[in-house]
């Protein structure tokens, strides 16, 4: 079960990265909805760079 949860969610850093990207997208959507998705994409890139460099 633990292995399965790890397969789905990854580590805490992974979950926080995705949550932060979606939160940023939600905040952006309040003012500029059409930019929200791309803000999420850039945030995910930053998260991937952090995961790759750590």
């Amino acid at each position: 079960m633990r292995k399965l949860l790890q397969l789905v969610f990854g580590d805490a850093g992974n979950v926080v990265s995705v949550a932060a990207a979606l939160l940023l997208a939600w905040i952006t959507a309040l003012w500029q909805p059409e930019a929200a998705g791309w803000v999420a994409a850039v945030a995910l890139l930053a998260a991937a760079a952090w995961q790759a460099a750590r």
Binding site: V8, V15, W26, A36, A41, A47, A48, A52
Partner: protein
């Protein structure tokens, strides 16, 4: 099927292919120890478990009467969680921070690990190896099957399995020549693209957040691919001295 469905199907085929290559290496190593009949029996048992899981979850998700956007949003979030790891790992390998997956080395490790073990232990090694790789295929089929269709998604994964088995039988050794990291980068970009599109669109409204509609998907893919290469180059350059590659 439209272009988005074909993209989803290609992602399943390639991702499943990468997982089946790793599973094949384990089964091959076990087969040389306890024979093909027992090793393929173990692999077939694990595949039956995966097929049952796909059937059960597909049936269960079809029975849920939830809002389409909520389902898409949920699947998008799952694909982001899953895809971000594939993507980051592919970048690490491209940058040289993690060694490339070596099927020959994995084959040798598995053979060493089961050397002298009882046939029952070797059988379990093959079963667990195929089951663990297959669980990732199951998750992808369930996630992308919601849009592509479970029958099509399952067929894509099965086609990848047949292709890997056919190639394995033809060369009769681990499939070390498969460019796994390039394929993993492709899959990571595709999963992130679908995840971003469905996750943000499902949660915040697709027409408001993605005015270009489905045409956004190839743009997201190219964006992630180009940025991934750039990040890998930057990470490689930031590596100081010989401490780079680590397992």
């Amino acid at each position: 099927m439209n272009a988005t469905d074909w993209g989803g199907l290609a992602t399943i085929f390639i991702a499943a292919g990468v997982e089946w290559v790793e599973a094949f290496t384990i089964v091959l190593a076990v087969a040389l120890t306890i024979g093909w009949a027992r090793a393929t029996g173990a692999a077939a048992s694990a595949l039956l478990v995966i097929a049952a899981l796909i059937g059960l979850t597909g049936f269960g998700l079809n029975a849920i009467r939830a809002d389409f956007n909520i389902i898409r949003g949920g699947i998008g979030i799952f694909l982001l969680l899953f895809g971000l790891r594939w993507y980051a790992k592919a970048i690490r390998r491209t940058a040289g921070r993690t060694r490339l997956h070596d099927e020959d080395a994995a084959f040798a490790r598995t053979r060493d690990g089961i050397g002298g073990a009882e046939a029952r232990v070797a059988w379990v090694v093959a079963f667990k190896g195929v089951l663990l790789e297959g669980l990732e295929v199951w998750l992808l089929v369930v996630a992308l099957g919601q849009t592509v269709g479970y029958g099509e998604a399952s067929a894509g994964a099965a086609a990848a399995l047949l292709a890997v088995v056919a190639a394995g039988i033809a060369v009769h050794r681990p499939l070390a020549a498969v460019p796994e990291n390039a394929l993993k980068m492709f899959v990571g970009c595709a999963l992130l693209s679908f995840g971003t599109f469905w996750g943000v669109g499902g949660l915040l409204g697709e027409t408001a957040t993605w005015p270009l509609g489905d045409a956004t998907l190839p743009l997201l893919f190219v964006f992630y691919l180009a940025a991934g290469r750039l990040i890998a180059t930057l990470v490689r350059q930031s590596l100081s001295g010989p401490r780079g590659a680590r397992a």
